[in-house]
């Protein structure tokens, strides 16, 4: 029982094997892709492994504290941003192996030509807030 974040990137991940921008797919290919993602999420809901899924807009703002009494500074998006997160899915699974297996399936979503995208997904374990009950003398 551990939660994992499956992270999709617009940019920053290694290039997919089937790397064609989505706006150059056919509408049917896009529908098939979206359907695959929805089916995947629905299946995880049924297995009791689904926690959350969100898509993010590509545009973001950078915000920074600018001293007492001043409004925060905003800027950007900075052109040099290397990584851009497209969205995520959070799953709650029994093992790391299961998390990797599911990420592999998600990466097989169909893309251009109806073939799998072979997209790289980042899999990150959640850090629990609690140390559990058992304790060590050292930590």
């Amino acid at each position: 029982m551990a939660k994992y974040l499956l992270l999709k990137h617009y940019r920053g991940a290694p290039a997919s094997v089937n790397d064609a921008p989505m706006d150059q797919w056919t509408p049917e290919e896009i529908s098939a892709h979206v359907q695959y993602m929805n089916d995947f999420a629905a299946r995880l809901e049924k297995t009791g492994e689904f926690v959350d899924s969100q898509a993010l807009a590509p545009e973001g703002s950078w915000v920074r504290y600018d001293g007492e009494g001043r409004p925060p500074v905003t800027d950007g998006p900075f052109a040099e941003t290397k990584d851009l997160i497209a969205g995520w899915m959070v799953i709650d699974v029994d093992s790391h192996e299961r998390a990797v297996e599911l990420a592999g399936e998600l990466s097989a979503a169909p893309g251009a030509g109806g073939r799998p995208i072979h997209e790289w997904l980042e899999v990150r374990p959640f850090l629990g807030a609690h140390a559990g009950t058992t304790e060590c003398t050292f930590k």
Binding site: M1, G48, H130, A131, G132, T133, E135, C136, T137, F138
Partner: protein, 394 residues
């Protein structure tokens, strides 16, 4: 209305329904419905006269069985398999007195069935044995209620073919309860306390030294809970804990239970772990800890489990009993990828006086930590040593 009493009755009420001929999944739903009904209609303040309103508080269990059975029959009649189920009900012997003890045990074993994944077994146990609602379980595990509902209904389907009268494996039941205990605290349900309640119930129904060993282990760990974290939530290691805040009543109970179990001379993993916890609990100060005996118990544990995690803990105990060099020597053959291996190495190097190595390893261990409390603690250890080293020009 005593919710704890209600929940404690759950497994035996469920067992009675199943014995009367209800299938497990339908019976479990019916018991949940009956619990909800009880919360709704039972008076907030039970009094001897409350039975005048038709709620016989003296026999809460009888009330629950009656309501749950009615719910089951209602559901069965509404079901597409109506005829089959009604036949089943007709064929069953008339409801009569049933020994609650055996049924309770069977529910425990069924919910921890080896065909279930650990997370499913835990969820089903908390609902069918613990009487928690799906919402409460979902909150405790920080997943959506729909997710937990699916997990539970899948688990029920998985065990629907399991023969109810087949004895289960006590080790699996204990593992599930241990998993619940280790989830600790989140949301409005304290899972550690819940695990203790269920283990107490199991120990009362089932005479087995390892059940007693697990109960003792939980009590001894739970007794230290108040001292385990600082007011800001940061982690306090065993040696620095305020022993005045340890719950002496729980410790005394844990040690009594453990001693009675050990006297039966059927040593198991949980008894040995509890023995280590008892030696810590027994020491008035950290310096008085009987590390030599703790190493001996770890040797017993190794014989029972041969687990790398036990080897790691043993190496730390050796470091306390025979000095940090001996500890590092015991650590050397172990896989560095083991959880907390780097943290143990850092600690032993610090005690050996090699502060630069210790600081580097603490920082490394912080990056590998599996939870925030440990990561923050280890980061502070690295920062503490680095500040000292920087201050002395090192």
């Amino acid at each position: 209305m005593d919710e704890a009493l209600l929940r404690s009755l759950t497994p035996s009420v469920l067992g009675i329904l199943v014995r009367r001929g209800a299938d497990f999944a339908a019976a479990e739903d019916a018991v949940q419905d009956a619990l909800v009904e009880a919360v709704r209609v039972w008076p907030a303040e039970p009094s001897p006269s409350s039975s005048s309103r038709g709620y016989p508080m003296r026999d809460a269990k009888g009330w629950l069985v009656t309501v749950a059975w009615r719910k089951f029959l209602d559901a069965s009649r509404a079901d597409t398999a109506r005829r089959r189920r009604e036949d089943l009900v007709d064929e069953e012997p008339a409801p009569g007195p049933v020994t609650g003890v055996d049924d309770t045990l069977r529910i425990y074993f069924l919910c921890a069935h080896p065909s279930l994944t650990p997370s499913s077994a835990v969820a089903l146990t908390l609902r069918a044995v613990g009487g928690l609602t799906t919402r409460q379980i979902a909150q405790a595990y920080l997943v959506p209620e729909a997710t937990m509902a699916q997990r539970i209904s899948r688990a029920k389907r998985t065990v629907s073919d399991v023969r109810f009268d087949r004895p289960g494996d006590v080790a699996t039941v204990l593992r599930v309860l241990y998993l619940v205990f280790n989830e600790g605290y989140s949301g409005d349900v304290d899972l550690a306390a819940e695990a203790i309640r269920l283990t107490r119930q199991l120990a009362a129904a089932f005479d087995h030294p390892e059940v007693a060993g697990l109960l003792a282990l939980m009590l001894l760990h739970h007794a230290r809970r108040a001292s385990r974290t600082a007011p800001d939530g940061s982690l306090v290691p065993l040696a620095e804990q305020d022993r005045g805040r340890w719950d002496r009543t729980l410790i005394a109970e844990g040690i009594d239970i453990l001693q009675a179990a050990l006297a039966r001379d059927r040593l198991g993993e949980f008894q040995a772990q509890a023995a280590v916890a008892a030696l810590h609990a027994d020491a008035q100060t950290a310096a008085e800890t009987d590390w030599v005996q703790i190493v001996e118990w770890y040797d017993e544990l190794l014989r029972l489990t041969d687990s790398p995690v036990v080897r790691l803990n043993r190496a730390v105990a050796v470091g306390e009993a025979d000095g940090p060099r001996a500890g590092l020597a015991a650590l050397a053959p172990l896989d560095a990828a083991l959880p907390r291996h780097t943290a143990a190495e850092a600690y032993l190097h610090e005690r050996d006086g090699d502060l630069p190595t210790a600081a580097r390893l603490y920082a490394d261990a912080a990056r590998k930590a599996a939870n925030l409390a440990e990561r923050d603690y280890l980061t502070r250890q690295a920062a503490r040593l680095n500040t000292r080293l920087g201050g002395s020009g090192g």
